[in-house]
Symmetry: C2
Subunit: 424 residues, 2 copies
Amino acid sequence: MNKITIAVVGAGTVGGGVIDVLTKEHAKLKREGVDIVLKTICATKKPKASDVVIPSSTTFTTDIKKIYEDPEIDVVVELISNVKVGGEIILQSLRSGKSVVSANKAALAEVYPEISKILKENLNLYVGIEAAVAGGIPVIAPLIEHMCSDSISRISGILNGTTNFIITKMEKEGLAYQDVLKEAQALGYAEADPKADVDGYDARSKLSLLMQLAYGIHPNKDISTTGISDIADIDFEYARMLNATIRCLGVGAREGNKVSGFVSPCIVSNTSNFAAITGATNAVSIDSKYLRNTFLVGQGAGRYPTAVSVISDVVRIAKGSCYSIAPRDNKVPTFVQDYQGQFYIRLYIQDGLGIVEKVGNICKKHKVSIDAILQLPVGTKDILPFVITTDTTMLSKVKKIVDELEKLSFVKGRPFMMPIIKAG
Amino acid sequence: MNKITIAVVGAGTVGGGVIDVLTKEHAKLKREGVDIVLKTICATKKPKASDVVIPSSTTFTTDIKKIYEDPEIDVVVELISNVKVGGEIILQSLRSGKSVVSANKAALAEVYPEISKILKENLNLYVGIEAAVAGGIPVIAPLIEHMCSDSISRISGILNGTTNFIITKMEKEGLAYQDVLKEAQALGYAEADPKADVDGYDARSKLSLLMQLAYGIHPNKDISTTGISDIADIDFEYARMLNATIRCLGVGAREGNKVSGFVSPCIVSNTSNFAAITGATNAVSIDSKYLRNTFLVGQGAGRYPTAVSVISDVVRIAKGSCYSIAPRDNKVPTFVQDYQGQFYIRLYIQDGLGIVEKVGNICKKHKVSIDAILQLPVGTKDILPFVITTDTTMLSKVKKIVDELEKLSFVKGRPFMMPIIKAG
């Protein structure tokens, strides 16, 4: 029997779930050979008994120092939402000689360089992050352990359940973004301040962690990130004309010694596995040399799915068999902003003569060949949505085209651009 | 650095893949902290150099005893196709104090009771079976490690790539089973003797291993197994009328203290994740208390995908961090043949008066309520395909109905029955 003593920091949705599952499944976990002792719970205030039942053998404290200083505690389970404080707790716990399990993706992405330094010098410490990416889906352990002999060429995912909930509701019910957002907030699927989700920052943190494990690089805030708020309902109609739909993806792709990555709404072919992922579900698609494609689907968030991932890491650490997220000694590829692909550009125009010609000239000037021009008979003469899709080209060229299109007198506002994803 | 010395038994498709990947990725695996020494390869005859390159530092032998007797060998990687011999090698290796990694699902399912006895008495030995179920998909480790705090209520999967290749080609191109089978054989997707695949026995072995891990029971040959050879092209048209398609699934479901399981072609709703799985791809769907649903998709077979799974187990054993497939001490549920569900029954009839009434009376007698009666205007008056679907009932009742239907004068041959799967 492997006995391990832990502290849980944060007693909100996920923390409460972890405490609950640890209590209810203690006997089951013992049958797995692990006796998890929940010694201390730390939070800014004591949770209501109706939300979280603190076991009688567990101490509650508001003082995090008590945890750092307690020599009995082997693992700190960090489950708060604050990024800065979360990062400090992760690092201070490690410096106090304790392993860490965390679901705080933004904090982990932020302090990863410091984490990796500590791990390289302290081979007895582990940082478990299974719950930080794609919630309840087993993705971190498979990526590190299952694919240890394989080489990943592309990792992409629906990494944020809130945005997928909103997008797929827009898709299904033909509603506008703002209306669906309000509904999602009322239902508790979106936060009152939805920025981290809808602007793509949550997905960016997760993508950066995945890219660290897949490629050994940690681009974090360098990852170009586009949120979902500029998606118009008309984009779904144009997507349908392309036998496709829209999903917000985080994508990290390797070509030789270069890795590119972005978070963005994408035009996704209906034949892609991603097209079938609806609601708050998450999905991760991994292309690799030997396994070809592995596609993992499940609950991206939520009290209990996240708790299961957290506890799996605690058990791994208890058994001394946790994967290592420390970087491997190897030459790593370079992160680049530019990447090859096909793109969708939607502009609102004031209808008139010679529009196709002018748009065509701009594309020609940048040597980008147009794949399709789409104009549905919707809108008014003054504000008509108009779409072009490109053949395979570079993002940098398409950005220049978008800049020039924006300056045209008949173009209203900034054109909206999305990568087109055919596989995965 | 964890150094481990292994022997590979079998140098066919998968064995050759393992040898190839171990050679090519030796440096990469060392960066993961594992030095895998391939000391011995054993096969009935030496493979051609054009198929498998045996490293110069590796010994080739046709004598398996040399492996059992070699004290340097830590792990025997058993990758032959013969069930009986495979089982003997697995057990004899364990008895010789060596851990085993095997992709031989039929052998593992056959000797699992003996394996489990040996593992309980030898806690330093491991049996890695990641490659034995769903080829390259990470499913065994997630099931045991990721879900260690969770409780599985249902595990189902497209567990055989050959049958899924045949079924989805029938579906897409409207071809008859025999024609597609011949094509699959010509392409190498099906064996010259396709029995293990098309009759469902391969999927049965895999399902039994999954049920062992999910529920602690090992029904193996008690699992009712129906192959795909009786699927008619018309069944796809009827499925379409039900907004569904056909997939061959292995399903193991727990209800309280009872577990039922079967391998059978199923009517699968188009909204199910399984409906999108085409070609030789495999997929496993796991319903559980906390994670709700986890859906894992990837290559179910093939030289390199299987090799990656095999090597992941060797690495786990080298690191001393392999999952244990030994049964946990816990009261296990009982395996039962009967289960609740909706069913599809297709009969060929000679058209005449009063048919619906007679069929209806038989269903009424067994207290099974009919959900739909379908009769497409195809076939001749003498041999018309006719379909009924039931409301939720028990399999045992539907079997009695099928027996009685078969005896009716206007019914030609044995009616063909499939469970209807809506979720998953």
